[in-house]
Symmetry: C2
Subunit: 209 residues, 2 copies
């Protein structure tokens, strides 16, 4: 519930881990620009301009455009992993933990759909080292979901013939919310989260479902 | 089965509806360039160069870069809709039709993941009229899946509390295959299709599952 409340209240990523304020403004401007035009079509001049700063002022904080993307991608992935870890870590039954994890993870991808899209679609633009770091974060998120599913199978609560495949599908379903979610659409992030928690319990053949 | 065989054999989109040969080469070059660098970072000069042609030769076939994207998007969406219509149109029980539709739609998105990504992620780059045409094609695909689910509910074969939400989730799950599918990964398009058909039958609470 702690995470649920925090996320519901957050509205947008606070990026509070980014200091000073000028660096935070530049990151937010970069997210917007990458989302609108794509990473490769965006220049550091565009980003500085959106943040109301000069290109020279940008270079004080970020040496390259890739460094901006890397920072955005790391914070986005860390935040998503944090949401999963917090929501999945309870002491409840596997079905309860899985439902909470999916609800929070989906809500996060709906609330943060602009950042989440950049983070997902521009992965190939990262250099080798940055990419490896992000892939490791993604593996950890995958591990959190896989472990809950394994717990449920072990407890006899879930019926899952293919655990890695089902883990992949559950994460894919949640992540893709960032692609289609539209704040002006008929469903709130909470409603999508509740619907998806139910659908995922069905996917794992949870006894309650 | 007709579609399954056709798709399995196609490997890549043949784009055979595009003539003459030079126009087809330009479309294929545009798909590659948009996938690698994004629509906004790609110039018509880049596309002509990849196709081994001059920019002037490109303009004989396509007046603008947007016309190329529009053509790619329309063919991609029509092809995906065709796969759904063919596979969903049988006389079998709803569960059988839904499983076949998901298997074929997923396989298509895995086989054609490069084109499918361009088609999905660059939608915002289309002008108003082109966008409206593509949105109409997407509604038709959604309608095909929704109708099978409604048939299943009516027949008492499926248990679906939220038909529009479940339809959206099923399509989202299938479409997102294009994002993560990797030809070098451990699963073939056929294997992903089979896994997903089973998961979707669970999502709709099919009696057999």
């Amino acid at each position: 519930m702690g995470v649920a409340e925090e996320e519901a209240g957050a509205g947008d990523l606070s990026w509070s881990e980014v200091t000073p304020d000028a660096a935070r403004r530049l990151l937010l401007a970069a997210v917007e620009a990458f989302a609108e035009r794509g990473y490769h079509a965006t220049t550091t001049r565009d980003i500085a301009g959106r943040a109301g700063m000069s290109p020279a002022a940008l270079y004080i904080h970020f040496k390259t455009k890739e460094e901006l993307l890397h920072r955005i991608s790391r914070i986005g992935h860390e935040k998503a992993l944090h949401v999963l870890l917090e929501s999945a870590g309870g002491t409840g039954a596997p079905a309860e933990r899985l439902a909470t994890a999916v609800r929070c993870f989906v809500r996060w991808h709906a609330d943060q759909h602009t950042t989440a899209r950049v983070v997902q679609y521009e992965l190939d633009a990262l250099g080798e080292q940055a990419r490896a770091e992000i892939v490791a974060l993604r593996r950890r998120s995958e591990g959190v979901v896989r472990e809950i599913i394994e717990d449920g199978v072990r407890a006899g609560d879930f019926d899952v013939p293919d655990v890695p495949g089902t883990t992949l599908a559950v994460l894919s379903l949640c992540v893709d919310v960032a692609r289609w979610f539209n704040g002006a659409g008929p469903r709130t992030p909470d409603e999508v989260g509740a619907l998806y928690a139910d659908l995922v319990l069905r996917m794992v053949g949870a006894r309650e479902a």
